[in-house]
Symmetry: C3
């Protein structure tokens, strides 16, 4: 089954990728790799979750949801450069930065929100190398930021 | 216009790249990619900015200046491995770590100090994928650390 | 001398790589690169060091030891995908995240625990680009997390 068909089955519509206005771009191609910029959990221009994860902040479930929104944005950015999502033949690497409250050690569970969606969309080709860490602060006070590397045909 | 000509026009001289003494090197080539090590805002052997960005620490403008110094060091490291700056045909990725005070959310504006210089030097080929995050601490208490990936001919 | 011979001489046995159960995998190949997931200082299923490095936490020496354990896990993960450690022809990049106490600025010395081992195992081909930063929290409260990129034949 194609990734585009899986997306449709999941009821996910890739958002439009904003036209870049700065010195960096949503994603770039080098050889047959596409690397995205850091993606935030933005939906219709608003952050779905801000602030720390853990402690008095977002729960693991909320943050995993934010990671899912972020990775949908990452897929959209990669697909736009690749010439369509079905040109993506393999997910290579996912880097996940979790805005972590002191004593929050479940960055892996947060990252699963993104990782699991990649496998739902790309099947076995969605399995990837992943690094998930807890950071002090993120741009716009986002709960999560992630970057994606994929291989294209 | 060549990158070397843009550099000259901007009045920027690439610093000498220190001979590596440890187990890691300033930059490495794999295929037609060159990946630099994390670069600090060192100028003539001294950090231009130390400590946190935001709060009572460095301002956005100062930190963006530190990012600019860091990316000049990164260009120098990449150019040394590439066989000269004009062998760099495209900037691929910039990873920016900002030593962030609590409540500082403008990592993107700090990173612009580096991103904007890349476009001044490499033109459209200087546009890149970028991830900017706020970290708890950095080596030598630097305000900024960044790593650069470029494609060479 | 082969990397496998150096490993034996150092008395290091690569641990078995756990069968992946989630949506991500210990390492992945793209072209002639192998990229590992973030590796923790796990030995026989237990973390050798937890908590912050610096301050009242782990010393630099302890944390460098944890980085060494982590990079052995990373080598094992990369070797499993590469078809054996001797298929690794060059170490490309090491990313090191140190769980840093406030005011701890020696992330580079911690990372040396991993970098030095890479050179002991791979010789000159073990020299690599490296980014080491201090993060707020890590999965399972690990002291160190690192990710490795290598080139294979």
């Amino acid at each position: 089954m194609k990734a585009s068909e899986n997306l449709a089955k999941l009821g996910i519509e890739l958002p439009a990728v904003a036209t870049p206005v700065g010195s960096y771009v949503p994603a770039i191609r080098t050889g047959n790799l596409v690397i995205t910029s850091g993606q935030l959990p933005l939906k219709n221009g608003e952050l779905t979750f801000q602030g720390k994860v853990g402690g008095t902040g977002a729960t693991i479930e909320q943050a995993a949801g934010a990671a899912e929104v972020s990775v949908i944005n990452a897929i959209a950015a990669a697909a736009a450069v690749a010439g369509g999502i079905d040109r993506i033949v393999r997910v290579v690497r996912l880097g996940v930065f979790v805005n972590s409250a002191a004593g929050f050690f479940d960055q892996a569970k947060v990252a699963n929100g993104a990782s699991d969606l990649l496998v739902k969309v790309f099947g076995d080709a969605g399995k990837h190398a992943r690094a998930a860490v807890g950071v002090a602060e993120l741009p716009l006070n986002a709960a999560v930021e992630l970057e994606l590397t994929v291989e294209i045909s």
